[in-house]
Symmetry: C2
Subunit: 355 residues, 2 copies
C-alpha cells in the first residue's frame, strides 16, 4: 500500500430510517449499532487505519463536528471538515478532493461512508488496495459488492471486461438504478452485476477533472474553496446538490473512465432495522442491542434495542422490531421497517425535537 | 330498594395479567383502565351508590389502605377494612358479613369486586335490586351474566327452575368450573348457563350460617373477629385460604339454597389486555389508553397504553398490544396477552421491584 493513500469519510445522513435510535442531531454514524463496542464512525476509521495511517479527512455537518471530534480523539481536529449545510455527496467528497489535491499531489483518495458496516475488514482492505493501484493509472475506481441476495434497495454496477494489468479489476459497463424485484433477480442470476456501495477511489485531480467535464463551475468552485478556505461559508450554499454517482460516476462510466474491483467483505449500509437485525448477534432468533439484561422475551424472534434503561418484555411475536429509548418507543416488524420514515415525517411536523 | 342494602367491595388481586400497567403495589382497581376518568374502584362505588348510599365496606390489603382512602375521599375511613394479608375471597367477604351482622341486623349485603367493569349501570342496579329482594327470603343470590361468547376464562352457573314470587330469578342447579372451548360452546348454545361473575347477595347471617354448615370453625372465627376487632391480626393468619365459590356457593347450591338473577349489563373482569382492549374506545381499530397525543400509528390495530410520557410509534402491526410505562415496556398480541404472567413470574425472581 502506498504511503499516499488518503481515506475520506463523509459522515452525514438524515437518520430517519433507524429512528428512534438515530436522530437528526445524532445520526447513525455516532452510534454503536452492532454492539461491537465502537460507533460506526469509529469502526470505519479503525478499518481504514492500516491503509491510511493518519491520513484521514472526515467531512461532516457543523452540528456534528464536536461529537465527531469527541469520538475520534486520535484524529487531528484539523482533519475534520465541517460543511456549513448538507449539499449531498458530490460537494462533500469533491471538497475533500480539492483540499487533498493541494495538500498532497501524490495522493490517491478513497471515500467511505461513516455509517456502513464491514464484517471482513482484511478482505476489504485488500480490495481497497487493489482499487488504489488501479486509481494511480488515472481511472475512477469503485468497489463492487458481490450480491448475497436480490436486493432492491441498492443500485448495481454492470461489469465490463477485465482490466489489463490489474488482475481482479474490471471496467464498469454502466451503473444502474435500484431495480424492481424481478430485475434484481436477473441481475444477480447473470453474475455480471455487483452492488454499488458508493465507495470510490481516485486521484483527487482525476475526480475533479471528471467533474469539470460535466460541470466546470462546480469543480472550479470546489478548487476555489480549497485555495481560500475562508470562502467556504460564502460559496458553499451555491454548490449543486447532487450525488457523486450522478455528477461523476455515471457519465465517467459512459466515457470508459471507471473501473471496478469486485469484492465480498460483509458490507451493509444498515438501511433499516431489518438490515440492522441481521448484523446483531441473536439468541433463539432474537437479536438484542443495548442492555440485554433489560430484555425479557417469551416465544419471540426479531430485534430489540433496549436503550431506554427500562425493562422491555416481548411475548409471542415473530420478526418483531422493538426500539426503546428515553423519549420514544418504536414497535414494528422487519417487513415494515422501511415505513418508520412515515412516523419520522409526521413527527417532523408535530414533535420536531424527537426527530 | 331497601335502605339496609350494603355494598361490600373486595379490593384485591395480584395485578399480574395487566402488568406493567398494574403492579403488586398498585393493583388494577387503583387504575383508570378504560379512560373513563375514574379508577375501577371509584367506578365501582359510583355504580353502587344509588343502592347503598354511604353503606359501603371496602375490604383491601393493608398495603393499599391509604391509596384506597385517597381515591375515595367521600368514604368514611372506618368503612375501609384492611386485611393483614391476602386470604382469598371467603375470608374477606366473610369478615365483612360478620361485621355487618353485628352492625345492622336488617342488612342485606352484596359483594362486588373493585376491579370489574359494567357498561350499563342502570340495568346492573335493577338486577342487584331484584337479587336483594330475593336475598331477604333467606337465600344466597348470585348474578348470572348472559354470555356474549363461549368464554373459557369464566366459571358458569347452570339455571334451575324459576323462583316463585320473584319474576326474573331462578334457582341455581349448579356452579361449573371454567370449561374447555367445546363445552363452553355447548353451555352457551343451551341457553341454560350464565357466567359466574363472583357477585353474591345475601343477608350476612345467611352467608355465615351457610359457611358454618361447611366449616363451623371458620364462621366462628370470623364472628369472633367482628366481636373483638383487636383479635384480627392474631386470628387472620389461621383462616383458610379459599374462594367463596368453593366454601359456600357450590355446597349451598347443592343444598338448594342458591338463587340467580340473570342479567346483561356489559360486565367484564378485565382478565387480560385482550379484554381491556375491547373496553377502550378505538379509532381505526386501535384502542389507546393514557395520553393519546403520544401515539403514532401507521397501519396498525390493537391496543396501546401510553403511560410513560414518551412517544409510542407502532407501524404495520395487527392486534398488537403495547404498554409503555415509566420503568417497563410490554409488547405482545391480543392472542398472547395471557402469557404476560410468564414475564411477571420471571421478574418476580430477577427484578421484584418491577412486579
Amino acid at each position: 500500500m502506498s504511503e499516499t493513500f488518503w481515506a475520506v469519510v463523509p459522515a452525514g445522513g438524515a437518520g430517519t430510517r433507524l429512528w428512534p435510535l438515530s436522530r437528526k442531531g445524532s445520526p447513525k454514524f455516532l452510534h454503536d449499532l452492532t454492539g461491537s463496542g465502537r460507533t460506526l464512525i469509529q469502526a470505519t476509521l479503525d478499518r481504514l487505519e492500516p491503509l491510511a495511517g493518519e491520513r484521514f479527512l472526515v467531512v461532516t455537518g457543523q452540528a456534528h463536528r464536536d461529537a465527531v471530534a469527541e469520538q475520534l480523539p486520535g484524529l487531528d481536529p484539523a482533519r475534520i471538515v465541517a460543511e456549513p449545510s448538507p449539499r449531498d455527496s458530490m460537494a462533500a467528497i469533491g471538497l475533500a478532493a480539492a483540499l487533498l489535491e493541494r495538500q498532497d499531489p501524490t495522493a490517491v483518495m478513497g471515500s467511505f461512508a461513516a455509517d456502513h458496516v464491514v464484517t471482513d475488514p482484511d478482505t476489504f482492505r485488500g480490495v481497497v488496495g487493489l482499487a488504489a493501484d488501479v486509481a494511480r493509472d488515472g481511472l475512477l475506481v469503485t468497489l463492487g459488492i458481490e450480491p448475497t441476495h436480490a436486493a432492491t434497495g441498492f443500485g448495481y454496477i454492470r461489469l465490463g471486461g477485465p482490466l489489463a494489468g490489474h488482475e481482479g479489476a474490471f471496467m464498469v459497463e454502466e451503473f444502474v438504478e435500484k431495480p424492481a424485484a424481478a430485475l434484481a433477480e436477473e441481475y444477480v442470476a447473470s453474475g455480471s452485476y455487483r452492488w454499488n456501495a458508493g465507495m470510490f477511489v481516485a486521484r483527487p485531480s482525476v475526480l475533479l477533472d471528471l467533474l469539470a467535464a460535466q460541470d466546470p463551475d462546480f469543480a472550479a468552485a470546489l478548487r476555489g474553496i480549497a485555495a481560500d478556505p475562508d470562502t467556504l461559508d460564502e460559496v458553499w450554499p451555491s454548490l449543486p446538490k447532487i450525488a457523486i454517482d450522478h455528477a461523476v460516476a455515471e457519465p465517467a462510466a459512459a466515457a470508459g473512465r471507471v473501473a471496478v474491483v469486485p469484492g465480498s467483505f460483509g458490507w451493509d449500509d444498515i438501511g433499516d432495522f431489518a438490515s440492522l437485525a441481521a448484523l446483531v448477534p441473536a439468541t433463539d432468533g432474537l437479536a438484542v442491542l443495548g442492555d440485554a439484561s433489560l430484555v425479557r422475551a417469551v416465544d419471540s424472534t426479531g430485534f430489540v434495542a433496549a436503550n431506554g434503561g427500562r425493562v422491555v418484555a416481548v411475548v409471542g411475536l415473530d420478526d418483531i422490531v422493538v426500539v426503546d429509548t428515553g423519549d420514544a418507543v418504536l414497535v414494528t416488524t422487519r417487513a415494515r421497517a422501511q415505513d418508520v420514515k412515515q412516523v419520522v415525517a409526521e413527527l417532523g411536523e408535530s414533535r420536531p425535537e424527537l426527530t
